[in-house]
């Protein structure tokens, strides 16, 4: 068997806590890991964090709470940030004063034959606007004309800022590949309550750039806005037990105003548009360095997201794809998704019926009932099926590295990872035809026996 790509997502905080060389040695020895996927640009509150205090300590690293705001964890160079109102922004997290993560990790990793991928993470969920000057200038606009909390993928300042980050990193560091990720969905998914809880469900983006893009496509903007407003009213309304059914009302809005779907697709095209541009820039600057994408877990639950994320299409601008297949936390997450849909488009449909419907539509055959999935998680078979789906779609044009769940936090009464789970997930990935795996979502959360189970399984499969 050939050696597989075996990555681990690990943030700078873990290196500071456990030592650069020592931690890499642990990864190699215990996890059979050959690639470090390091968040170097991140405004998410999750990736740079140690295990939160309300969760069991992972047994390694410091136990003190850190509260990252984010930014660049490398050293940005301002000359690459022309053409944007957004400046290069070095993190002000206190633990990283004077620490350039890439600068410290690269020699230690390369000395040990371990590759380093820079993970640039778009998630803008931290209180970023308070820190980065001019951030409000790149925000989306909602259907009522208000600035929306998240930035717009069509805003040229925002696009240029990201292209500047890519150019900066590729010209300043000799890492081995780039992984970009963005855990965002379009206005329709958000309206159906399928997005991050902190994101408004009011339809967006109606900024001048998106309106112009819509007009170029021939979308009737006024009709789109009327349709979205009507749909939002429906979402906000309470159900009438004797009256029209929720799905029928939803379909009525789409039939009357299919511009809603056109706008949703427009948003998604903007979302992937940034990825395409990043790919092109990276390939221009460093064609030998693989570029790939962390594809959000939504893709495992939402039929809408699945319809939008076309892996066959994605393969033409990808060297690798990391579909998030976090099987343990997928149980409670799928359960939450079903609840969200019961609150909107599938009002009146029972949990069991909806679960059966989703299993069939998504191609799952899980051994547990809907009542059990929050505590049981999903199976290795889920990982296998999803991997096989992505592998088939990519058709050899891009490598597939499923993200494997190792101790991703869940609520106290929900599924926790065991070594057997890790083993099942990895076996599922390789049985599905994966070219590698990325242990996720970050090392600081992982129990060492689960990390060891990953290494043991990979070696047993002959993929180390």
């Amino acid at each position: 068997m050939t050696q597989a790509f075996v990555g681990v997502q690990v943030a700078g905080i873990s290196f500071l806590d456990e030592g650069f060389g020592a931690l890499i040695d642990r990864f190699v020895e215990q996890g059979a890991i050959n690639t470090l996927v390091i968040p170097t640009q991140s405004f998410g509150t999750v990736q740079q964090r140690r295990t939160p205090t309300d969760l069991p300590w992972s047994g390694h690293g410091a136990q003190e709470v850190n509260r990252p705001v984010g930014g660049s964890y490398a050293t940005p160079h301002s000359q690459y940030y022309a053409g944007t109102v957004l400046p290069a922004y070095r993190t002000k997290d206190p633990e990283f004063v004077g620490v350039d993560v890439l600068e410290r990790v690269l020699p230690e990793a390369h000395d040990r034959g371990v590759k380093v991928y820079s993970w640039i993470y778009e998630n803008p969920y931290s209180p970023i606007a308070a820190h980065v000057p001019n951030w409000s200038r790149v925000l989306q606009v909602d259907v009522f004309g208000r600035r929306h909390r998240l930035p717009c993928f069509r805003n040229p300042d925002y696009v240029n800022w990201w292209l500047g980050i890519v150019e900066d990193q590729l010209k300043s560091y000799d890492f081995d590949g780039i992984q970009y990720g963005s855990e965002r969905i379009g206005p329709l998914g958000n309206l159906l309550r399928g997005g991050m809880p902190s994101v408004s469900t009011v339809p967006h983006c109606f900024c001048a750039h998106c309106v112009a893009a819509a007009e170029i496509r021939g979308i009737d903007v006024d009709r789109a806005m009327i349709g979205w407003t009507e749909l939002y009213s429906w979402q906000q309304s309470s159900s009438t037990p004797d009256g029209e059914r929720a799905l029928v009302q939803f379909l009525r809005s789409l039939l009357k105003y299919p511009e809603i779907l056109a706008w949703e697709q427009l948003w998604h095209d903007g979302f992937t548009g940034l990825q395409r541009q990043i790919y092109g820039v990276a390939k221009t600057l460093a064609p030998e360095k693989p570029v790939g994408w962390h594809v959000w877990h939504q893709n495992s639950f939402s039929m809408l997201n699945r319809a939008e994320v076309d892996f066959a299409d994605m393969a033409c601008y990808s060297d690798f794809i990391k579909p998030v297949l976090y099987h343990n936390c997928a149980g409670p997450r799928l359960h939450r998704h079903l609840t969200q849909m019961q609150d909107t488009v599938f009002r009146g449909v029972s949990e069991k019926t909806l679960f059966d419907f989703y299993q069939a539509a998504l191609g799952y055959d899980e051994p547990h009932s809907v009542e059990e999935i929050s505590t049981a998680g999903l199976s290795g078979d889920y990982v296998r099926r999803e991997t096989a789906r992505v592998v088939a779609a990519a058709d050899g044009k891009a490598a597939i590295y499923p993200g494997i769940d190792v101790d991703i936090p869940t609520a106290s009464d929900e599924k926790k990872t065991t070594p057997e789970d890790v083993r099942n997930g990895i076996i599922g990935a390789f049985e599905g035809g994966a070219d590698g795996v990325i242990l996720s979502r970050k090392y600081s959360e992982m129990q060492l026996d689960n990390l060891a189970s990953a290494g043991k399984t990979i070696r047993e499969l002959g993929r180390a």
Binding site: T240, L251, R306
Partner: protein, 472 residues
Amino acid sequence: MASPFIGVQLGSHSVFDEGVDHVLDVLSEKARVNTLLLYSHAYQRFAQNRPAEGLADHGRGVRSGSQLAVGHAWVTPHNEHYTGTFLRHANGADVDVLDEVAGPAAERGMQVYARMLEGHEGWIANYVSNWPKILTVDVHGRRAPLPCWNNPDYRGWLVSTVEDVVSHHNITGYMYGSERSGPLPNLLTRGLSPGCFCTYCQAVGHRRGIDVGRAITGFTKLEELVTDAAAGRRPLDGYLVAFLRILLRYPEILRWEYEWHRSKEDVARDIYGTVKTVNPEIQVGWHVYHAVTWDPFYQAEMDYADMVSYSDWLKPVVYHDIAGVRIRNRYITPLTQSIFGDMTPAALRTFLFEVLGYDPAAEAALDDMPTVGMSPEYVWRQVRRCVVAVEGKIPVYAGVGFDVPTDGNPMRSKPENVYGSVYRSFEAGAAGLLVSREYDEMRMENLEAVGRAVDDALSAGLVPESALTVGR
């Protein structure tokens, strides 16, 4: 004594088969019928699907099949109303049924409504000259078997027909119905190539801002998906996701589907305005196709609240018995060979029922649906939905149907379910009843069940004073 609207759909042939006086007395005495809805024109072959031994226990029956023992036009035509269209009615009867019935009905205090159900089968082209010229055009540019509502000659023919009927007859009301689903459901459930893309429809679509080329491309891709599904070629992401992906990329599909619906309802608006212009007293209402009770797309399109503006009353079709076989054979099973190809028919039944508000545990299991039908609760749900939507602005006459031959005739209606359906209709807020589908199909014990249920509903105070409109 004033009573609620209790109508019956009375095939014009039955009047002559059994005799006017006899038929009216039977209907009045057994089922409390006070309103007769008679075909002025009948472009259906309902007689064709009756079993050889007959279903009903009265009448001599009518010959079925290609000999067409029943006529198409049951009223005397007046050609002056048909300028502006090259179509003319075919196969006229020697009598005018509305004239024949007028006297006996008046003697009994019964109302007479004319009715027309749009012909929805391809064979009409063999009997009506020039019919092929008004046919729809499918996505491949081929003429398809049914007429196009945007064709001015067809539209003119429908309006002329209505004008002719209401101008020459002393009738109380008029009912029109069209039993056609749109291009999207027809593709998904029957594999029919989508339409209509005739020059008139393309012009309408273009005028309304639809990119016609993209609509054609989208429907073509969707037809490929459905064809693949029928052949068992599953898309990588599953059937439903593939369907959603096509809709996201070609939302013009939905717009075309909706404009098809608008054209259908534009015909109703034309008819409404025509009747009201000739005689504002005539009460105009619509037979709303049975699919409104099982197809979420059709239900979404037929917005009862919107229909109020061109309706004096509505008849939602709630034929509970045959709903079983129709939902299973015409919708669930075909969809599991199409965009719901990843689901079993049993699972889709449960999902569909919960989406629509039917109790899967209380209704018949999938395999029993053809022989058990749907329950009176199905009737209540659909009548109630209509009543809630129209907000008291117009009356709702529940279209309770029984003994309807259809889809191989797997069951016969039982009096207890007929009684329950009628009673539950009034409990749902119906202002009246339209006993369906055709008198010549109905057995006496079921007509008697209608009468008992009406009596009991009145005794129970389920019919408000405002609904006691007949004989007031």
